[in-house]
Amino acid sequence: MSFHRFRRKATNAAMLTLTGLCTLIAVGTLVFILGYLFQHGGRSLTWNFFTKLPAPVGETGGGMANAMLGSAKLLLLASCIGVPIGFLGGVYLAEFGRSAFSFVVRYTTDLLNGVPSIVIGVFAYTLIVLRQGHFSTLAGGIALGVMMIPIAIRSSEEFMRAVPLSLREGAMALGASKTKAIFTVVIPAAKEGIITGIMLDLARVAGETAPLLFTSYGNNFWSPGWQHPTAALPVMVYNYAISPYEDWRQQAWSAGFVLLMLVLTVNIIARVILSRRGHVAR
């Protein structure tokens, strides 16, 4: 075997091994992160965490019940804004879109999706908090709602596009109007995908911290209505993690663990549903 040939073979083997190593590092990181959180967060998780209010500094115990309700309220408000606009916008792009204009909408949607979440937070601050003069659940919900729209639009559009044209033609051949065809044939056919897309969207904004820091701010007690600042799970993770108290840090691990479990569960379920349907998991 000539030296030249040997060198080529050696390069081949070395580089291919190297790529395998890269994969190993990437996957290893994930396993490490999950393992560490399970071990650290799962251990300190108690029932109190789900039922009690945060304890004042110096007292041990306490939980984050208000933060969980706060997160739920923020997500509800976000869905009320993000889901209808996103879904109907997706209907427009998939069914009515004309080429040039819908390209602009699609492109803007992708760009809005790429705007850093902290900038969305500043936007909601100037829009709501600055005008009202106080932090509120409303402002936080709007910030998260704005973040939901782009993904909701793009995923709804994608799943409706995946419905075969023949179904639309069949409906219209039977005398249905375009609208009737869309709402009774296309949307039901794409329903599962659209809902899954929205679940993934919710899971994403559920973990967002930056847009909430100066919109919903934080609160150590229950937050009545929509006009008061409220605690939220991701913000609690942040505030407790950077605190100097050992007990709070322990709580941050628990909160992080709960948050991660919620997000990963939704993601795993959604991806399994999508792959079963033969879609590429996003």
């Binding site: 994969t23 990437a26 992160i33 109907l88 500043v122 639009i153 375009k178 869309i182 993770v237 993690a241």
Partner: protein, 324 residues
Amino acid sequence: MSAFTTTDFRARPPGRALAFWTRLRRGDEVAYTVTLTCALSILAITALLVFELYTNSAETRHKFGWSFLSTSVWDPVAGEFGALPFIYGTVVTSALALLIGIPLGVGAAIFLAELAPAKISNALTFLIELLAAVPSVIYGLLGIFVLVPMLRSAEPAIRAVLGWTPLFSGPFYGVSLFSAGVVLTIMIVPFIISISREVILAVPNEQREGALALGATRWETTWNVVIPFARKGIMGSIFLALARSLGETMAVTMVVGNDPKIHASLFAPGYSIAAVIANEFTEATGGLYQSALIELGLVLFGLTMVINGVARLLVLGTTRKGAA
């Protein structure tokens, strides 16, 4: 259905109005208008976002002009605001993340797309894409309590290898530009892998077969044929990752050290645009201070818009999914 048609007959107005009237009755016009409004709202929101950030940063823009971007004194008490330390920190941490992340991500993508059997590749990609779904505050949590102590104990080794450069000089407290860069690497690698893999998988098989038939080794085929073919999409994935790392807030805030000065050493604490907004926004009393932070937001917005814009154009059409 028959009732529907009968009404149509009775209410038939003449000429062009017919089409409109019928479409209106059937709901087409309504549905079109409603969905169009929703699609337009995306443009409206984006425009409103720019407008709000622009008008609310008017005070600093008038006072400092472009020198805001090029001066490096950040002293809220004295009312002096220069954004350079934050821009520096943002660029350095992101550059570091790309430096480590590109070889790692593209390497793994090559393995997953070219070498691994489909089943294993899909399973591993599934895991890696889950990594992309982990909230950034969790990365920050792990950053503070796991990565920083780890780097601190790895410090002598890093110094022994790279200590001769000014980049790794000075005391190391754990929180630093370097730590932030490493956390960002962990966060962007899944993006690079999952999009690059898509792009590489989309390369037609004839390309590979041709190269292999000419006697190229597997690696030569990948490196000289497949990668150049997928180059545009891979570049796109890198730009997307860059945009994400520039705007990343929580994880960076928690490990970067939050020191608004420019240090040459990566071991020194620094600051980033997103981190300073997150940390100081609620404390910002006085119009000028807040206006300066909002202008920083505008800078960050502009930066990520440009990079994302380029990325989308590159990825568009090169993957099976279109824009990711």
